[in-house]
Structures are given as C-alpha cells and as structure tokens.
C-alpha cells in the first residue's frame, strides 16, 4: 500500500452519529445469574441439560424409595413385601434396639445408656471451645472415663453390677467403644511416636520410624488379623486378651501410626526459635515439650487429628472381619432375618447405616472446618 492511498483511506470525517449499540448484557438479576451459571457457553448448556436429566432421573426415584413409597410401620415383613417398591423403615424401627445394644441383656441396657450419656457430655465439653475447665475434661476423658466405662459395661459383682460378657456386646455402642478407645490410646501414643521419630537418640528414632512406616504400609485388616490370631500367641495362655480387646488394640495401634504422622507435621511447623527460647529460659526438655511445643503443635493439627478420627471411625467397620458385631455387622445380619426378608430390606438396612455414618462423619468434618477457620482468624490477628 503506497503512502498516498493510505493517507486517503485514513482521512475520516464523521458526519453522522455512530450506530447505537445495545446496552451491555445485564450482569445482575435472576436471568443474568442463570445465564452466567448455567448457560455460559454451548458446552456449559449441554452439561446443564445432562445434569438436570440426571437429577430428574435419580432424585424422584430416591425420594420415592426413601419417603413416599416407604413403609413406616408394620408388625412384620408382610406389608414391606407387598408394596415392594419402597424402603421398609418399620424394619429399622423394630431392629433399632438390636442396632444400638447388640445382644446386651435387656434389663442391663441402662448401663449402656449411662455410657452414651457420659460420652456425650464429655465429648461436648471437649469440643465446645469456650467451655470452662477443658483441661479437666481432657483428664476425665483420657484417664477416668475409659476405666469407668469398662467397669460399668463389663460389670463388677462387688458393686452390684452383674458381669456382661463381651460376646453379647454389639451395635452402635461397640462401634463407639472401638472408636473412642482408639482415639484415647492413639492420640497419646501417636504423640510419643512422633516425638520418638524426631528424637536425637538414633535407636528411638529408628524404632518409631520403623513402626510408623510398617503400619502405614499394610492394610488395616492384616493388623486386625495379627491382633486376633497372633496376640494370643505372644502372651502366656492364661493372659490371653479378650476377643473384643484384641481388635481394639489392633485399631488403636493402626490409628496411632497415622496420628503420629499428623502430629509430626505439627511439630515440624513450630519454628526453632520456640525451642531455643524455652532453653534460654532454662526449661528442661520435657517442660519445653509440654509447655511450649506440644500446645502449639497440637493446635496447628486439630483438623488433621479430626480427619484421622473420621478415618478411624469409618475403619471400625472392619472389626467385623474378626467376628465383632459392630453397628454395620448388626445391620448386615438383621437383614437376613426371615421374618422380614423382602426385596427392599437390604437396601433399607444399608441406607439407614449410610445415613448414620454420613451424619456422624460429615458433622465432625464440619466441626473441624469451623475450628480451622477460627484458628486462622486467631493467627491473623
């Protein structure tokens, strides 16, 4: 293009108004929100339609099964078999005592109720961050409560509580026992292992590291098998541990390896200056650990500890492999009851168990999120 023609083209004198442009597409209001979030592009629109189709296919069927077609009360499985389609909540209602207490003797079940009440009070006390005397709650929970709980549930003839053999224990209360004992043992043990792993004493460090890595490298079920089959061989015959105690030890050892790694993360996050500062003040190593390092480290990793606990709670279902009637196992065995046999019984039982575990785990994870946010706010200040 020569310079001349370029100049001729470039000369431009506007002699009439420019075209009026339409106003920009609204970015506020209902329609705009819908457009932005659901129909931003062709691909997005397609996905929206597919997603709505999925919801339209699944949600009504799910609601019909769980609510509208469900049988809410019936004396036995007859009605559930007749309607076929929906969940049989009557079955759950009838079996709920079994799901809660297992085969614990009827006239002694108040002892389990007391245990439930105690756990609820202590756990609420520990989880409520603004509660008074939380240190006392921790001492009660980690020291007094396990012993008291065992005496209460297993019985002490001298106190007028007949012995109830662990063979009869079952249901939600066994799941809770396994989970709570697991956390009561695994938290202190995990802290010790984490400190051992970072210890300057090579022997201790090697032992701790070896233990942690070994346990983390094998499936929980093999640890349970080991506790069940090998533990009785390790001790003299008359000292063989109870059949419920064995898997509880297995679960606790398993969880403590994971807990140790969480705590180690917290220990590593503490700046070296803290340790040096404590030394400069003349604190002994144990005092430094107890007063300076651990309080900070543990606060850092509360979410990790809670997540480990959620994992531990879900893993308690595996104790069924060594013959313990935990909650899931009671559900799984109740659905085989011929009086209630029907096409929807299995699905009903599993749906109930799923709702129970979901509420528990989801609730704890929300709590951990809340604590995390609170700590983050505190740290920012």
């Amino acid at each position: 293009m020569t310079g001349e023609s370029f100049a001729r083209q470039a000369i431009f004198v506007r002699n009439k108004d420019a075209n009026v442009l339409p106003p920009p597409v609204s970015t506020r209001g209902f329609v705009a929100t819908i457009r932005q979030n659901l129909f931003a592009s062709a691909a997005s629109s397609l996905m929206t339609i597919a997603a709505f189709a999925l919801v339209a296919a699944v949600l009504p069927a799910l609601l019909r099964f769980l609510i509208f077609d469900a049988v809410w009360s019936a004396p036995d499985g007859e009605l559930c078999r007749a309607t076929r389609a929906g969940a049989c909540w009557a079955f759950i209602a009838r079996k709920l005592p079994y799901f809660t207490y297992g085969s614990y003797p009827l006239d002694q079940r108040w002892r389990v109720d007391v245990m439930f009440g105690l756990s609820f009070v202590l756990i609420a006390w520990l989880l409520w961050l603004g509660a008074p005397a939380r240190r006392l709650a921790a001492i009660l929970f980690f020291l007094i409560y396990p012993i008291l709980g065992f005496v209460l549930l297993h019985g002490a003839p001298s106190l007028g509580l007949p012995i109830v053999d662990t063979d009869l224990w079952g249901g939600i209360f066994v799941s809770l026992i396994v989970a709570i004992t697991g956390i009561v043992i695994s938290l202190p043990l995990g802290i010790l292992l984490a400190m051992g792993r970072r210890s300057p004493l090579p022997l201790l460090a090697i032992f701790s590291t070896g233990f942690i890595e070994f346990v983390r490298g094998v499936p929980m079920i093999t640890v349970l098998f080991m506790a069940n089959f090998m533990l009785p061989l390790f001790v003299p015959e008359n000292l063989a541990p109870d059949r419920l105690l064995r898997p509880v030890i297995g679960v606790a050892l398993f969880a403590s390896a994971y807990m140790a790694e969480v705590v180690r993360g917290g220990l590593q996050a503490i700046p070296k200056g803290q340790m040096e500062g404590a030394e400069a003040l003349g604190l002994r190593p144990w005092q430094t650990m107890q007063l300076i390092i651990l309080p900070q480290a543990l606060t850092h990793v509360i979410p990790g500890i809670v997540n480990t606990f959620i994992g531990l709670f879900k893993d308690t279902t595996l104790v069924a492999a060594v013959g313990i009637f935990d909650f899931l196992r009671t559900v799984d065995s109740a659905r085989l009851d011929p009086a209630w046999a029907g096409p929807a019984i299995s699905a009903t039982g599993y749906a109930f168990a799923a709702i129970f575990y979901f509420l528990f785990c989801f609730g704890i994870s929300r709590y951990s999120l809340f604590v995390e946010r609170r700590l983050a706010r505190k740290r920012r200040r």
Binding site: L54, C361, F362
Partner: protein
C-alpha cells in the same frame, strides 16, 4: 546413652518373651512352626484364577493366585479411579453451578460413608438382586449384566496378531525417540517439529496399516445366551465388579478433592501472566497451570493410590479371592500357621506399597520444581 540402653533392654526383653510364648503356645496347640505347609495340597477351589489352579494345587500356588487377583483389581482400579477422580475434581471447579454442585454432592457422600458399607451395598443390594441370565440387562457393545456377573466381549487373536502387537510396540518406541529428538532440536534451534502428527501416525496409523495388511487377525468373541447361561466373551465375577466399582468410586472422591486443591493452589496471577504473554488457553494449561498443579497433587495422590491397594483387602468381606481372602483366610484356617501366613501377607503388602511409592517418587522428582 543410658536411655537408649534401657530402651533396647526393654525391647529385647519383650521380644524374647514373645518368642518364648509363641513357641510354647504353638507347640501346645499343635500349630506348625515352619513353612512345610507351602507344598501341601490345598484342596479348595478358587473361582477366579489368572494362572492354572485346581483343588489339587498347592498352598503356594493358592498364594500366587490370590496375589495376582489383588494386583489385577488394584491395577484396573488405579486407572479407573484416576480417570473418575480427575473428572470429578475438575467438575467441582466448573463455572457451571449445577455441575459443580453435583460433583460436591458426590464427593461429600462417598467420602463420609465407610468403604465396607459401600461394598456391601453394591454387592448385596445392587448386583445380587439382579435378574438371572435370561433377563439380563443388556448394555451397549454386547455387554450383559446379571446376577452371575458382567459379560463382556473378549478379543480373539488369530495368527498375525503378533505382527500387530510388534508394530504397536515399535510405533511407541519410535514415537518416544522422535519426541526426544524433536525436544533436543527445539532446545538447540528453537524450531518445532510436528510432534503430534508424527506421533499419531507412528502409534495409531502404522499398527492399523499392519492390522489390515495381516488380514485383520483380531476378532471378538461376543457373549451369547445359550440355554441358562452366557457362552463366549469374558465373564467378570460379581465380586470382582463390586470391588472394582466400590474401590474406584470411593478413592475417586478423595482424588477429586486433591485435584481441586492442586488446581486452586496455582495462583490466578500465573494464568493471567500466561495470557499476557500471549499463550493461548490450551498452551497456558499445558505449560503453566498443569505442571504447577501436579507438583501439589502428586504426593497426596500417591497416598490415595496406596490406600486403594491396601483397601483391596476388603475383598474378604464379599468373597473376592484376593490375597487376604485366599491366603490369610482359607489357607490360614486350614493350616493354622497364623504367624507365618500373616507375616508373609504383611510383607507382600509392604513390598507393593514400597514399590508404588518408589515409582511415584520417581515421577514426582521429574515433576518437582528444579531450583537453582
């Protein structure tokens, strides 16, 4: 020093006591204390065996069958869960509201329900109540699902198939070498070679050409209903399908969260800077976003992979013949050699775990930030 000596003393004392007790207890109960059971006849059948196995085989062969079954379900599960997990993780970040919501519901539901419960649900409430072979659900590609399992078409190789396989391997190798060459050339001269095109020709085009030149040596055997059951094709046991489905879906929920966190960890400034440099979105993703996200993703992803492998031991609850079910279950019950069998089982899982984390560490080192 004193502490360590004391610690060693206590540990040694416990170990010696344990050994003495184990010997005494095993003798008292008549449990074998060596590995002589290894070559004895097993006497039980296994319904899925990748190597020849019958009730006349030995315990050692039963161990091998169980180990291979564990590896099979873990290997396929790892691939499946990676695909599902990445898809859900990316969907969680979608700008499309309902897609992101559905992905979130998926993650929260599956993460908060125990895996064992999910497996029992799939097995007892979904797969077992399916109709028999005559009323099986018919899926696309001649796949059938009924209470006896999943029936899929099986490839049948005629003579000449080895040429096809050879061409494929050769194509892969050649494509890799070409990629190395192109990369080196680009570093030296700044000129780009058409890597994508050449790779496609080498890996897909050439084997296809060989395939047709060799008169299509590959055909499929389709499952067909004959009498009361399906013949032909491959039959996947319901237990296998359950375990694969349950493991992949459960682990995918965790992987999705890892992927989401990884992508969110790349600061927005990175993609803005890439755009400012004039990189199209595709290249920005490939050279800027994904490499940085992968750095965050790989370490926790490794531990999820290990979890999947370890969780495959839940097979024992639904009767899939994996290592734990066959070896630490049936063989242990028959021989009573608890100590040896549990130690071997644990050792096997330790080796698998270590090998997996070693492989992932190699991959991680390639991906990790090269600091000056």
């Amino acid at each position: 020093m004193l502490y360590q000596a004391g610690f060693l003393l206590v540990l040694g004392f416990l170990a010696v006591t344990a050994v003495i007790n184990v010997r005494a207890n095993m003798q008292a109960r008549g449990i074998p204390m060596d590995f002589s059971f290894w070559d004895n006849t097993a006497g039980f059948d296994i319904n899925q065996a990748l190597v020849p196995y019958s009730a006349l085989s030995t315990y050692g062969q039963a161990f091998l069958v169980g180990l291979l079954n564990t590896l099979l379900v873990a290997a396929i599960g790892l691939v499946l869960t990676t695909i599902i997990g990445f898809a859900i993780g990316i969907a969680r970040l979608s700008h499309n509201w309902i897609v992101a919501r559905l992905a979130m519901i998926y993650v929260e539901t599956l993460r908060n329900v125990p895996l064992l419960l999910q497996l029992l649900f799939w097995y007892n409430a979904v797969l077992k109540p399916l109709p028999g072979p005559r009323q099986s659900l018919s899926l696309p590609f001649s796949i059938y699902l009924n209470n006896r399992g999943l029936f899929i078409p099986a490839p049948v190789f005629a003579s000449g198939a080895e040429w096809f396989a050879l061409a494929f391997v050769f194509g892969l190798l050649a494509a890799f070498l070409f990629w190395l060459f192109a990369h080196k050339r680009q570093v030296q001269t700044g000129k780009r070679l058409p890597v994508g095109l050449v790779t496609t020709i080498l890996i897909i085009g050439m084997p296809l050409a060989v395939f047709f030149l060799a008169w299509q040596p590959l055909s499929f055997s389709y499952p067909e209903l004959k009498g009361f059951n399906f013949m032909g094709g491959w039959r996947l046991l319901p237990e296998f399908v359950t375990l694969l489905l349950g493991l992949s879906l459960y682990t995918a929920a965790f992987i999705a969260e890892i992927v989401r966190a990884g992508i969110e960890a790349v600061p927005a400034g990175q993609s803005e800077a890439a755009a400012a440099l004039g990189l199209p979105r595709k290249l920005a993703l490939r050279y800027v976003i994904v490499p940085q996200a992968l750095r965050v993703i790989i370490p926790p992803l490794t531990s999820q992979y290990l979890n999947l492998i370890k969780n495959s031991s839940l097979a024992v609850f639904i009767g899939y013949p994996d290592l734990v079910q066959v070896f630490a279950g049936t063989v242990l019950n028959q021989t009573g050699a608890a100590v040896q069998i549990i130690c071997i089982t644990m050792a096997v899982y330790l080796v698998i775990s270590l090998a997996t984390s070693f492989a992932m560490n190699l991959f991680n080192r390639r991906m990790a930030l090269v600091e000056r």
